[in-house]
């Protein structure tokens, strides 16, 4: 379902990209139009993947409305639903979709579902140290490296780089695993899509932030970890991934991700509490409008993620009316 959407995005936005790198925001996405009377406190609690994006959006938003006070906390996607339910935040950024149980909790309190807005596209990259000769992995191989249950169908666990297909001096080196803590939406997404809902191994070193995964892999030559593509540095290498043996290996190039060919692509979301019969709080509405405007999507590019297509932006704007 999700991948179909992303493929859709691509069809519309590819014409705008035309192979240019760095990636451009779709020309059809309208620039942000300012309105009067926007001020007050804006609290955001949620995803750590989106933490920097939220901060950058807040900085941009404040250029338009100097008197808005934005306060951003990012300790994992799982912290967003409770914050929205307790109304300690108006904005809940999440790097995965809300689980049905979380939506139920919300509905129980307010009597309607939370409003979901897609804000950016991310490719979840599998990173290895820059000195590691490996270039590509299949999803079952990734599963065999990270999971103890191997639901994706690998025959045996992969414990050394040799078993993952590296030859020479690397073959005997053990693999050292880096991952996220369980409050993270990245953790949830990876578990669902790369481990086929299996369990992580106990040897995965759980890191408090996406950047610390990248840092761990930078320092540890035998390391492997997963994080959003926005966190890439020169110390790590993002691997090409294939759905299964025999399929084509796809790297994290923006065009390929937007074309829906990279297997670990996902949307990033922002959830808000919006009463269906009442007008939306102007502050929240304008902030979301800013996010899906050309300026907001330019910021997405700046942070290393991929922008939405004009088509999706149109759908999201419809929700904000």
């Amino acid at each position: 379902m999700k991948r179909v959407w992303i493929a859709w995005t691509a069809l519309v936005s590819l014409s705008g990209i035309a192979g240019a790198s760095p990636i451009q925001v779709d020309e059809a996405v309208a620039p942000y139009a300012k309105v009067g009377g926007v001020a007050g406190n804006l609290n955001s609690i949620g995803s750590d993947t989106l933490n920097n994006l939220m901060t950058l959006w807040a900085e941009g938003f404040q250029k338009n409305y100097p008197n808005v006070r934005t306060q951003i906390e990012g300790k994992g996607s799982s912290t967003a639903p409770p914050a929205l339910i307790a109304a300690t935040a108006q904005i809940g950024p999440m790097s995965r979709e809300m689980k049905p149980t979380e939506v139920d909790e919300f509905e129980k309190k307010f009597g309607y579902e939370p409003t979901q807005v897609r804000v950016a596209v991310d490719a979840l990259a599998v990173y290895v140290n820059k000195d590691n000769p490996i270039e590509k992995l299949t999803l079952p191989q990734v599963d065999a490296i990270f999971s103890k249950t191997r639901h994706c169908g690998a025959a045996a666990a992969i414990d050394t780089w040799g078993a993952a297909g590296v030859s020479g001096e690397w073959a005997a080196k053990p693999i050292s695993l880096y991952g996220r803590n369980s409050a993270s939406g990245t953790y949830g997404f990876f578990k669902e899509n790369a481990l086929c809902k299996g369990d992580f191994r106990d040897t995965v070193k759980e890191q408090p932030g996406s950047a610390s995964v990248v840092q761990g892999v930078t320092e540890d030559v035998q390391g492997i970890g997963y994080s959003g593509i926005g966190y890439k540095t020169s110390g790590v290498k993002a691997l090409s991934i294939a759905n299964k043996e025999g399929d084509e290996y796809v790297n994290t190039d923006p065009e390929l991700v937007l074309a829906g060919r990279y297997p670990l692509a996902r949307f990033l979301y922002v959830y808000v509490n919006r009463h269906p019969d009442r007008p939306m709080d102007p502050l929240v509405r304008e902030f979301l409008k800013f996010i899906v405007s050309r300026e907001g999507q330019q910021i997405v590019v700046k942070d290393g993620y991929l922008p939405l297509s004009a088509k999706i932006v149109g759908q999201e704007l419809e929700k904000l009316k």
Partner: protein, 549 residues
């Protein structure tokens, strides 16, 4: 024989004593060494961050040209004999808008030539980080003003200064007049909601009509200001500097977006030092940019200091009152002893437990109630019912109250009995004795307690993460709008800033030195606050030392 045995035993204990003295001295020396070593490590990394290294231009064997700063050289870790002993360097290439990544690794064997051309410039920009390249042309309103490196460099400072002034006036318009209109509009919206919540009557509709008129006026004023602002913004982007990167790609950069223009390779020593100091000032007094990876950390310094002061105001009276009761009024017995044990144990409770308590008690219970009683019109957006600097300070006050109680009790115990009895004998009541005689004499001890509490509070991060500390809170808890001090606001903290920049930042490589610089500053702030408190204590001690005798 017995005599001989005793002497030899004494000699052996003496020797043991000597060994023990040496051990103590050694342990102290080791501790000092560790502390000094840590400071030197942080200082070296932190202070080096602001120094401008020279910028090199590198041509690779495949013809690629790169401009950047060399950030470290290391041996390539490989067993391959062909690469044996080869080195590689990490080059900061900047130009994030063109290349995506700030750094690039280059192997020795890839490199053809390394030069340090004089005309290469480094632009510090408000967005997208540094730009390394050569200046091509300066344009104003679409027409060229100057072309060629030297001509541009000559014409640029004036235009840059003008654009900076323009940027400042934009900011003052935004935060001044426009901010006021926004503030009034938001106040109006909340008032309107409050009126609507009150229900329908004649007065309500009159109020609403009045509000509508004010709203229309404000909207009109806002539109005027917005138009003015747009015009100014256009002028800001009117002057464009055309740059060429190492590979020949050109890039237009609005002069208003440039913080600083540096020619690192043709800079004299004096200019280097000035640049270095300028950057330090910017770091300490500026606001963070680009998701905290660039710019300054003033809001974090301000938040830390303000939080610690608020905490001191809360903790000292409470701690002193508790100590007074325990020492002066309560009769010693199992009850008082139990309280003392409890106080001492409280000091050993992990700080995160206090954080959770603060969240449940202060934020949800007290804050939530305040919101329902006084800020109902703003709900469901919480005002006090979410983390804020007040709740964070109170949580830390709870955390540090045992320290103050213990220190204050010791201070009170040190006041000689004669002094109290003298005071009582002169006819003073017990309260007068405590208030006029005992407390002043004990104040150095109380201040010691406060110093210890402040030091502990300034370094505490874990409990604050759940009671109001945030990654970005661009508005300080103090500003020009009534009631000027906004205790409900969230705040930034140096300790969390270190964690955030080091582990959460999108550009870890580029922001790593910032972690050291921030850590150095945190140490500096703690030392500074303690120093002030110690000076105050010594002054107090001196003034009471004469009167007590």
């Amino acid at each position: 024989m017995t005599m001989l045995g005793m002497t030899s035993r004494r000699r052996s204990t003496e020797r043991l004593g000597q060994v023990f003295t040496w051990m103590c001295a050694g342990a102290l020396a080791l501790n000092l060494l560790l502390a000094v070593g840590l400071l030197i490590l942080i200082g070296m990394h932190g202070l080096a961050y602001f120094w401008q290294a020279s910028v090199t231009e590198i041509e690779l064997k495949d013809g690629t040209r790169l401009i950047g700063e060399v950030h470290g050289i290391e041996a390539v870790p490989t067993a391959d004999a062909a690469w044996e002993g080869e080195q590689r360097m990490r080059l900061k290439i900047g130009n994030r808008d063109l290349y995506g990544l700030d750094f690039r690794w280059l192997r020795e064997s890839e490199i053809e030539t390394v030069t340090t051309p004089d005309e290469v410039v480094l632009l510090e920009r408000l967005e997208w980080g540094n730009f390394y390249g050569r200046m091509v042309e300066l344009r104003q309103a679409g027409s060229p003003v100057a072309a060629g490196s030297e001509a541009v460099l000559a014409a640029l400072p004036d235009l840059h200064q003008r654009q900076m002034a323009l940027r400042e006036s934009i900011e003052s318009l935004e935060h001044g007049e426009m901010g006021e209109v926004n503030y009034e509009l938001e106040k109006l919206r909340l008032e309107e909601r409050a009126v609507r919540m009150r229900g329908d009557d004649a007065r309500a509709s009159a109020d609403l009509a009045r509000m509508e008129r004010t709203q229309a006026q404000l909207d009109e004023r806002y539109r005027e200001l917005a138009a003015e602002l747009t015009a100014m913004r256009d002028r800001l982007h009117d002057v464009v500097l055309v740059m060429r990167d190492a590979g020949g790609q050109t890039k237009e950069i609005a002069v208003g977006e440039i913080v600083r223009v540096v020619q690192p390779n043709s800079m004299g020593t004096l200019a280097s030092v000035r640049l270095y100091l300028g950057r330090i000032v910017e770091f300490v007094s500026g606001a963070p940019r680009e998701s905290n990876t660039e710019g300054g950390i003033f809001p974090a310094i301000f938040g830390t200091v303000m939080m610690v002061f608020l905490m001191s105001f809360a903790v000292v009276p409470f701690g002193v009152l508790a100590a007074l009761y325990l020492r002066e009024y309560a009769k010693d017995g199992p009850m008082v002893r139990a309280v003392r044990i409890a106080v001492n144990n409280l000091a050993g409770v992990p700080s995160i437990v206090f954080g959770v308590f603060g969240l449940g008690f202060f934020v949800y219970l007290i804050g939530g109630t305040i919101d329902q009683l006084f800020y109902a019109e703003a709900l469901p957006t919480p005002t006090f019912g979410t983390g804020g600097i007040l709740w964070a300070s109170l949580t830390l006050a709870l955390l540090t109250v045992p320290v103050v109680i213990v220190a204050a009790e010791e201070g009170l115990a040190a006041v000689p009995r004669v002094v109290r009895e003298g005071s009582l004998a002169l006819g003073a009541t017990k309260f007068e004795t405590i208030w006029r005689v005992v407390l002043p004499a004990a104040s150095p001890g109380i201040l010691t307690g406060m110093i210890l509490a402040m030091a502990r509070a300034a370094g505490e991060v874990a409990p604050l993460m759940i009671v109001g500390m945030v990654k970005l809170a661009p508005s300080l808890p103090v500003d020009g709008y009534f009631p000027y001090v906004h205790l409900e606001r969230k705040f930034m903290h140096l300790g969390f800033h270190i964690y955030d920049v080091g582990f959460q930042s999108p550009n870890v490589e580029a922001s790593q030195p910032l972690v050291f610089a921030t850590a150095l500053l945190l140490v500096g702030v703690v030392i500074g606050m303690n120093f002030v408190a110690i000076v105050v204590r010594n002054r107090v001690r001196r003034s009471y030392a004469t009167s007590a005798v």
